[in-house]
Symmetry: D2
Subunit: 307 residues, 4 copies
């Protein structure tokens, strides 16, 4: 595995078409697209890393996996009254659907849905308390207390919040949010601004690779059924309008972030994190997806194959 990862890093370094770095806030726009990191963690406790695997990046939407897990822990299946679990189609359709479905977001991984999840876990508390809880949970999963919010990124997101503010007010107009829009957005942007590296991220996903147990800690995080369901949501909705493509090419549940990271789960085999800042047209890491496709071919890992 380590040899393969080293060779993969060397090969991917040669690629010149690396996608387009997110540029809606300056903090993301200035990241060097030449970077690439990968970490593979197994339930048995092995870790393999290569490239820029210990460089911090903004996990952005990957954080939605963690807040979804928290929300299911807090309110269980009641969450599904606030958010659906179907793929959302293209970005154009997302707002059409939001209107058509009376402000109920289609799934917890589109922005509207993740905002609704944040509203659900706030439960009357202030953003500060809620954010403390989120950070504690992520540190616990990653076994690393050094993980923090990047407050500059969060502040910049808040300043450029118009698209998300539009979605949040839209849902509020349908009575879908219980807290103040700006407080929900502030919490949401901080959550997205968590800075992690590939190794921390792969560590955090281990419970999803073993039916809810992080075997390296010897701790059950969620029930087996819940872990499987979170994986199903990652598979169906984890890459926006590129989810079908990711399932087709990689064949594993995964969640991408606009910072260029992807967390992928090979059930029973490994938790994998990749990072490369350049994005494809659907907003998913171009080189990161390619790396996962190669890894899946090399290992034979695919939920759609026989072993």
């Amino acid at each position: 595995m380590q040899d393969f990862l080293n060779a993969l890093v060397a090969e991917l370094k040669l690629i010149t078409q690396r996608g387009k770095v997110a540029d809606y806030i300056p903090q993301l726009a200035s990241v060097d697209p030449a970077q690439f990191g990968i970490a593979v963690c197994t339930p048995s406790g092995d870790s393999f890393t290569a490239g820029d695997a210990t460089t911090l990046f903004s996990i952005q939407s990957i954080s939605k996996v963690f807040t979804l897990t928290m929300a299911l822990g807090k309110i269980g299946d009641g969450l599904w009254q606030h958010v659906g679990r179907e793929p959302s189609g293209n970005p154009f359709n997302s707002i059409v659907q939001l209107e058509h479905e009376m402000g109920k977001p289609r799934n917890p991984f589109i922005n509207a849905g993740a905002i609704a999840v944040v509203d659900a876990i706030m439960m009357g508390h202030e953003p500060k308390e809620c954010l403390g809880e989120i950070l504690s949970f992520v540190r616990y999963l990653a076994k690393d207390d050094s993980i923090c919010f990047d407050r500059v990124v969060a502040a910049s997101e808040m300043q450029h919040r118009d698209r998300n503010a539009s979605l949040a007010h839209f849902m509020k107009a349908f009575g879908r949010l219980r807290h103040d829009v700006d407080k929900v957005l502030g919490t949401y942007f901080h959550q997205c601004a968590i800075a992690m590296n590939c190794l921390q991220l792969a560590q955090s996903g281990l419970f999803l690779a073993s039916d809810g147990i992080d075997k390296t800690m010897g701790q059950r995080i969620v029930s087996a059924q819940r872990a499987r369901r979170i994986n199903s949501l990652m598979m169906m909705c984890g890459h926006y309008d590129g989810s079908g493509e990711f399932a087709f090419r990689v064949g594993l549940p995964g969640k991408s972030g606009v910072g260029g990271g992807i967390l992928a789960i090979a059930p029973g085999k490994a938790s994998i994190a990749v990072w490369s800042p350049g994005l494809d047209q659907q907003g998913n890491s171009l080189i990161g997806t390619l790396a996962l496709e190669r890894l899946a071919q090399f290992t034979g890992w695919s939920v759609f194959g026989q072993k």
Copy 2:
């Protein structure tokens, strides 16, 4: 397994809410909703059946799995110029998306996409020849030469073709179909009107459970990669706007038909067919889905779990 299936049949018989039988053509509307059948076939050659597992029904959209397999065999990845591979969202969006994406259907399992697949495999031939080829392929997979089209159903579909004719002319207007609309529709409706029973259907899906090989025949049908990709499409798009729900509840790739059948694949484990005519709001078999959910719980089969 046999005991479980027998008990399942007994339990499901007691349910009174059985969904709504498709009523857009009289031949489907008159089917008795009390029926339920299930067949589980394993790569090692075991078959388990229970309930109305040998009663013929109209497989309808499940046939799209077979024509997709044929199309990939004939024109390979060139097929993806004619049809996409992303989930389509709700029915309302499907036509919006079809316009937004210039007549290119989102995936091969929505009606527009399946019509485009039929157009792709006709390759200048007459419907009769094309249909002969489809039937031969299905009989080969099912190891049963008695399988036939239900011509009464096909004729009735043709008579009530307006919704599909609208889609087909729409695609034709964008230059997406090469053959005469009525010939494509005639072929499409016959394909959908194949009559099979659960046992035949489960037999036909075995190659998808073993990375492209039907081990009971000792024949490779498609490459491992292709089998996995077909499974990924079934997972992402196999249940229309209920695909996310099916993945969440059952956790296996599956394709449903409006006749009440579902073909589901547990890679490495089994090919499963269920049938019960009553449909839920998304047009998928209500009791059939429930049966698969129970079976998945009993066996632990789920592509999202560790074993």
Copy 3:
């Protein structure tokens, strides 16, 4: 007036940007875009013509004014159960709206609406009879028995019918059409293929300029209320998604056709027909609209002004 029209013809001849001739059928694509004609007919019987005012062209959608008038005569306000009377927004929205409103077209001047009007006036008769009636009515209004269908254009439209066939089957799927789709389309395409010149067209619209009476014939064609209502529909919906622009610039009710003709009504003043084959982006005659804008400025005719 005659001097003004002559000067206008001379001025417009110099314009090189003349729009794009409709090219979806070869018969329209081959028309020379340099042509321009205008005819102004007053209730008192005066006629002024200039340019190519006696050259025949395909009136296309302008015919919808005449079939709407016939439909209201035959079934009165019952027509509004089949078709609405609101503007339809952009072309993209038209099909979205058609689905959203269960197959009921928004107004009688979009294609779907005009097809529904044809279906309404067929009343069980064959296309031939219905077309005879339409032609008689148009000849009567134009006081000219030489007016005919251009059968080559009609046949070509039928051959390239996919977009309209899609709309018609869509409406039929919602139970909105009572006759066979191909018969309705055949009638619709013939109606659109009526060949007229500017003078004939301006003559035909006189009844709309005088509250339902063609004073030159001394005949009441429709009631005053009905004439006003037809004018209101022309104002609101007569130029597709350019209706607001036409009202803003010209200030008169008008109906355009993709052949480059426009019929405009200055109530109490005149019936006006212009023709120039090049179209703007909304599918309305570019030079024709400009000519009407100049005429309205010269005469002061505008329904939004004080005299």
Copy 4:
């Protein structure tokens, strides 16, 4: 005229189906639906009133006519870079269209468009200054310095701003607004909260009935062309998705408000204001529209008729 208006008031009082009072803010929800007022002002200086013609009500969207007039005065045709001039179709489509057209509102009378107009006239000034200017202009047109904002209504609108805040942030995300969203909304809600009575409102519209001149003041307010164009926009877009219906039934340009008022213009004849709080399904005054329909029948006023 006076006798007719008196009789009309008596007749309309008997109608029990009076529509549904707007209830999205308590201040509007508590208005008595039994009220009805009408005022007819002629260019020659005659005024006729009947019913509750001197009761103040919230003019709401009718104010958009005045801010549009101001905006055209300030920045002329440059305004059309910020907002279109086409009807918008149904409410569902409005947000679809806003996305489809990159955040540019279709016309100045839908909410998004009116917000864009407010942003355009703020020109870097604070809401207070801008509102002072709006109020001065309205008082000048109405010849009545007692007209004021209803600050309780404005505050309540601000509190329930989510739908409009969603639109404003959406436009801002496309770079369509230059000022702070909350400042624009605060200005917009105050403008809508102007309290006027029918007589004041009819007085204010006189300049639109006489090609831009208020003859009772002997003042030109706008050019003849601009007055006609404002009328055309009222005709095409003044009643949301009921604009076609209003043109069909009443035949005059008009602008409605959710407070139950309508300002209608009979060019060359009169400026008319009606008010009755109950709304139809499109959000236009039910009894008010009926009153205008009767008045138009009685007087023969219609822009689509010959005199």
